[in-house]
């Protein structure tokens, strides 16, 4: 065994000993893959890249997950007797869930990827359920409500199969689609089903509690919103970077209920992670929430001490900011992101959706007094 191969094996073992969701984890596996490949051990390189699909997704580096996936898929296509493509299919869903968030990827490319998935899934005898769910995700990021409605309906009508997500994740996706389609009441009902029946998965109900908060606020159900905010935030915090975008909804809640102290605490706890969040739509949700909290804190010339990361236009170190000014700066930034989506999407749906969020600043609700928190 060559030194490089031994080193690659050691790195994979070391990576497996690390807590997941870290950049180091990703770096070790990438190095391992490179060492193994340069030493001619394709199987070992495949093992490392296969692990990278998970690691990159978990660490919030979907571009690296996407690359690792593409590499593995190419190997399967070229050496079908050596590498089994079917084992990649489950992860294909993660890849296509994040792909529409790269505005570098065009609508045509997305359609191409979805068709490729449909073809590969059909070859193993799977139905169109999962693919349609992903088409709905893509339509969501493409700001195409008609396509979303079509794909959502087709997905719901399709029977579940081996490639379907778990019930909890599926129901949570429904909540997400319903919100985007403006059906707050139906979304709240679906979210209640998740909560009532104790459904859970890695991210559910943490993300469900969060994403439905604006709907609850719009419907004036501040009591449920409060209880879900309190329950959901600790769960979300434990999941870290991958779902930090959903802290945006918690921030929106804090703004609408005037609980800026809590909002600023959440900001401090999540701002740095959110800056590293590579999913553009998640950054957008997060910044929209941050805007709302700071805008509220800025009424009456409030000042806040925050570490604003460089990629959000700050200095990266702890500084006093005029809340209102910072809010406007973040709003500019988030409008910029929305505009890039709009350009790719060739419509203005994402900007319009952002406006719906910004409109929450006109809303002010008093949370119930008797709080157990």
């Amino acid at each position: 065994m060559s030194d490089a191969i031994k080193e690659a094996r050691d790195l994979i073992a070391e990576a497996n000993r690390l807590p997941r969701r870290s950049i180091q984890h990703v770096d070790m596996l990438e190095t391992a893959a490179r060492y193994a490949e340069s030493a001619g051990d394709l199987e070992l390189a495949y093992e490392a890249r296969d692990l990278l699909i998970d690691a990159g997704t978990d660490a919030g580096e979907p571009q690296r997950a996407l690359h690792a996936f593409a590499w593995c898929l190419a190997q399967c296509d070229q050496n079908p007797e050596r590498f089994r493509e079917n084992a990649l299919h489950w992860r294909f869903k993660w890849i296509l869930e994040t792909a529409p968030h790269f505005f570098e990827i065009s609508r045509e490319q997305l359609d191409g990827l979805l068709d490729d998935m449909e073809r590969r899934f059909a070859k193993r005898g799977s139905g169109k359920g999962s693919v349609n769910k992903l088409r709905a995700y893509a339509a969501d990021a493409l700001g195409d409500d008609a396509a979303l409605e079509t794909a959502y309906t087709a997905w719901k009508a399709a029977p579940r199969d081996a490639l379907s997500d778990c019930r909890a994740c599926d129901l949570d996706a429904e909540v997400r689609f319903l919100i985007r389609l403006g059906k707050d009441e139906a979304a709240i009902k679906a979210a209640r089903d998740i909560v009532r029946s104790n459904m859970s998965c890695t991210e559910v109900p943490a993300v469900t509690y969060a994403r439905v908060l604006p709907s609850l606020l719009r419907k004036g159900d501040v009591e449920t919103a409060q209880s879900w905010q309190r329950r959901g935030y600790p769960m979300l915090k434990r999941l870290q970077k991958k779902v930090v975008g959903n802290a945006g909804e918690h921030l929106a809640y804090c703004a609408v209920t005037g609980d800026t102290a809590r909002g600023l605490r959440i900001l401090r706890e999540t701002l740095a992670l959110a800056a590293e969040q590579p999913l553009a739509l998640a950054r957008l949700t997060y910044l929209a929430g941050a805007y709302l909290t700071l805008e509220r804190a800025g009424r009456g010339k409030g000042r806040v001490t925050l570490k604003v990361p460089e990629s959000f236009g700050g200095s990266g170190s702890s500084e006093k900011h005029a809340a209102g000014t910072l809010a406007e700066a973040l709003l500019d930034r988030v409008r910029g992101i929305a505009a890039r989506f709009d350009r790719r999407n060739d419509n203005t749906r994402i900007s319009g959706w952002l406006d719906e969020w910004v409109a929450l600043r006109e809303l002010s609700l008093d949370p119930p007094k008797a709080s157990d928190a």
Partner: protein, 614 residues
Amino acid sequence: MEQLFQVNLRGIIELLSNHLYSGPQVFVRELLQNAVDAITVRRETSRGAGNDGEPSVRVSVRHGDGPPQIVFEDDGIGLTESEVHRFLATLGESSKRRIDERGRPLETDLIGQFGIGLLACFLVSDEIVVRTRSLRSSDQPCIEWRGRQDGTYAVSSVVDTSLVGGTRVTLSARDDRHEWFEPSRVEELLEHFGSLLRCPVWMIVGEQRRRIDVAPPWRREHGTRSELHDEVLDYGRRVFEVEFMDWIPLRSASGKVDGVAYVLPAAPNLGEPRRHRVYLKGMLVSDRSTEVVPSWAFFVQCVLDSERLRPTASREALYEDELLESTREELGSNIRAWLMHLAKNDSRRLIDLIAVHHRSIKALAADDDDVLSLFADYLPFETTQGTMAFSEIRAARSSIEFARTIDAFRQMAPVATAQGKLLINAGFAFDQEVLTRACELFSLELSELDPTTLSEDLDDLSEHDHERTLEFLRLARRTLERFGCEVTLKEFRPEELPAFHATNRDGEFRRQLQRTREKSDGLWSSVLGSIAGPEHEHDKPIVCLNYKNPLVRRLSTIDDDEAVPHALELLYVHTLLLGHQPLRAHEQQLMPKAILGFIEWGLGERSDKGPLLQ
């Protein structure tokens, strides 16, 4: 007419056993729980005070002519006939659920609350016989309830003077479940679930009685501290079968928790969560709970009992709520306080601990300034001068350079060492966070060194040499341009190294994307191209040639437009191989081409001078 659904009980039981519970063993826990709860209610209502002795739970196994039987007997409050109808016959109905006027569950002293416990007995028995006499008032009759797994049951009044008050449950072994009725198995399960109960539980085998509930060492009075220490460690050895290094007492007011965090004797696998043993009101909920302590506490394995945390419906895990969150934080501060105490008072024990658990400490120090300031100096890092404690590093340098990845460290180490640099490998978990914060704390300058920056930092050539090599550098750039890299000529040690290939993290990723594009079909290739985006100047790979290297120096003096490019191409491939870079297609073609070129060139030279072979 409205009709009720008919529920197939057998189906429900299968469902429970396959999906709700982890296995048939839970019937012991459910029975134990009912018994203990009944005693709790009796204590609360101070009924039946006239009966002799302290109320207890007694468990025995009968092996006779028929199938073996298990008998659970308690001196609890018992049930009246109407309670029997209501609670023993309706799935989901519980005598123990207490709710407030808004329908939210109230905190209670009872363990059970879901009304499905007794069903677990059908996992091992086709028939459950319950005899019970309520103590709510005197002169209550003894009621017998016989439930069968087909969903039918019968209730009758019986004469049983042996049951003064309380409940006796008898199970007869199902044909395929005899193994669960072995006395040793039953006793093992009772201990497993109930050893921390605060209510007497007896296992009776023939004439012998053995007490199941035993106060754990941290709840008992001890003569000396070392006695306590030894007993707690001994307890850990028995429960986890591990020889622990040390232990930390745990207390949480919000979750009403007491227990112990054991310090693992070896560095754990950080990717696998620890499995803690969690009891609720003395009853084991889980021996693989991962949520009770903060995620940075990799180095401990806990056993703890809570009076207040809530179980999920399976009663095999904790319900994630704010109470659990605040309990977790309190337990975290217990562990942290212990570490702080050690740092201040017992540096020998601390050094032993850090030798094994520095990763965990780094995880904690990464976002806790107090811990960091106490531990920073002790924390070890891999450097170009071997493993050094942070105190040694800061004694040696006031500005510190680190490599972000293990690979970058390996690549740069020889060059950095030869330049007299002290480079730290921050490629392991938490190293970078800890270094950043530790340097802030001690006002040290910290900067990342990547191969690109390193190559820029190296010495430039003297003006004279610079002039002399201009043409050579121009030729080198022209030759290697098509590989998308920049070429620089520097002077550095080690002299043996002719050149190295330098990229930063993003440049490295771009290179990988390009390679994979070559292997992918049109669609995927175009997508990879899209996510690569436009190249930034800083991400461009650099081939850094070493003018101190004799080969490079000679090459720069040769005036040959054929030989020098071939040599440079080979040198380029050599730097890639040295850096464990898998080659791209056109780089792969270089090797044979350049080698053939050299052969031709060599032969050409020779042919002028006569035949090659004499």
